[in-house]
Amino acid sequence: MTFLRPLIIFLALLALWQAVVWLTGAPRYILPGPGLVAEALVARWPEILPNAGVTIAEILLGLLLGTLLGCSSALVLAWFRPARRWLLPVFVSSQAIPVFALAPILVLWLGYGLASKVAMATLIIFFPVTAAFFDGLRRTEPGWLDLAKTMGASPWRTLRHLRIPAALPALASGIRVAAAVAPIGAIVGEWVGSSAGLGYLMLQANARLQIDLMFAALFVLAVFAVSLYFLIDRLLTKALSWQADDGSPPR
């Protein structure tokens, strides 16, 4: 059942796609049907595969880096009161800046290669991870903190043995959001300036009116992004099985 339902949804979406093509009579250079895209996928596979590898590397590196940075900054915020007072407003207001507007600058500074795209993905991920983990760190069940105090715990050990584990479910939701938005960062970075990647391939195909190749690249990206999300979701749920047993800390 676990695999049957996604498969049925997938097939239904393909059918819908084909139905739209038939009903609207859209020409193949506007909306190619699933069959044409599948053909392009097979025929152009040697071209798609290395580009997909580049994009996947950008997404995974960005995800890793953004999560690490986000966790560290949440810990700094939770640990140092001055950091909370000075940095938190900066983090929050920086979110008003559209990150995409930074993409050209990142490309200018870091070049056309992998680095600017990883930086872009990292920037997008950083805030949701920081916000989620920090929120978890300061919402520790007060009863646990009282207990720790009567037990003679140091602030450091309270953080390590109580506050961090208690904040892991919140961090996990942050990482889920990160997994969903990381591909956006990578693709936007590629559109602004790159020499490889699925985003680059899509732009090239678009310019040459190879719409079926464009859709094939989009399809590969979508499959990878969705698989990444569900894989991470699964792993997190499994790693935090204690949370599923219970839902929330006892009140």
Binding site: D146, T150, G152, R157, P165, W242
Partner: protein, 268 residues
């Protein structure tokens, strides 16, 4: 000067319970305001060493606040609990709340070992064995490797009791630890706790007069605003007492009457 010191140290040793070494606790002129309302002020309380003191009273009167003050958890309160020699006691207490406060991610055994971990003490095989023995003696040993969520409320409260005992503190503060339990489990756990905690200086906050009469050497009713403590009731015999004893039942009626008065006072 010397005479005064001698006197003080004499008082200090007197106030220790000689059999168990559990200190007597003095709370002088304690005060706490909450939202501009004085919950209590100029409150005096003595918890005799090695004895169980029960604190009854209507909800919201400040019982929990008083217990938290003694535990050093009420930063906004005035007054500090000290032993007979005038030393603070917060480093010698174990605290047990109404909720079991078990960590959902840790096994039952790790929950019992939490205090060691939080103080950075080495968790040796001997300490593990000690924790296991405690769990066995409270009849939850079979669940040592399980997570708290897999246990019933009664079993979880037993684990919380094991964690409290593992602390090996001479003073134990309990805030309605049995109130979430059904009648049978509560009765069982009261007896268990009374036996395992005898000889320690125990403060038990409860809203159940019968529980206080089963377990307390001294029973106070806290009432009014600002709250007063009144005269301590000292039932005969050693706890845990038989709830069917006619004397206990007579006391229960009296306590209920006092509580009803206290309740109507606090309503005004």
């Amino acid at each position: 000067m010397t005479a005064k010191k001698d006197q003080e140290s004499a008082r200090g040793s007197e106030s220790l319970n000689h059999e168990t070494g559990a200190p007597t606790i003095q709370l002088d002129a304690a005060a706490l305001a909450y939202n501009g309302q004085r919950l209590f002020q100029d409150l005096h309380l003595t918890l005799p060493g090695g004895r169980t003191t029960c604190l009854l009273g209507p909800s919201g009167v400040g019982k929990t606040s008083l217990l938290r003050l003694i535990a050093g958890l009420a930063a906004e309160a005035e007054g500090e609990a000290r032993d007979g020699a005038g030393r603070p006691v917060t480093d010698r207490i174990a605290y047990m709340a109404q909720q079991d406060l078990l960590l959902p991610w840790a096994s039952v055994l790790d929950n019992v070992l939490l205090g060691l971990r939080l103080r950075g003490e080495p968790i040796t095989q001997a300490r593990r064995d000690q924790a296991r023995d405690l769990l066995d003696s409270l009849r939850v040993g079979a669940s040592a490797a399980q997570r708290p969520a897999q246990l019933s409320i009664g079993m979880r409260q037993r684990v919380a009791l094991a964690r409290t005992l593992m602390e090996e503190r001479p003073i134990v503060l309990m805030d309605e630890p049995f109130s979430a339990l059904d009648a049978i489990t509560r009765y069982e756990l009261q007896g268990l706790a009374a036996r395992r905690l005898s000889g320690r200086t125990l403060l038990l906050v409860t809203h159940d007069p019968l529980e206080a009469l089963r377990l307390g050497h001294e029973i106070y009713v806290m009432a009014g605003r600002p709250a007063r403590l009144g005269q301590a009731l000292q039932p005969a015999g050693a706890p845990p007492r038989d709830p069917a004893d006619p004397e206990i039942l007579a006391h229960q009626a009296e306590l209920l009457k006092r509580l009803a008065t206290a309740h109507s006072e606090s309503e005004e």
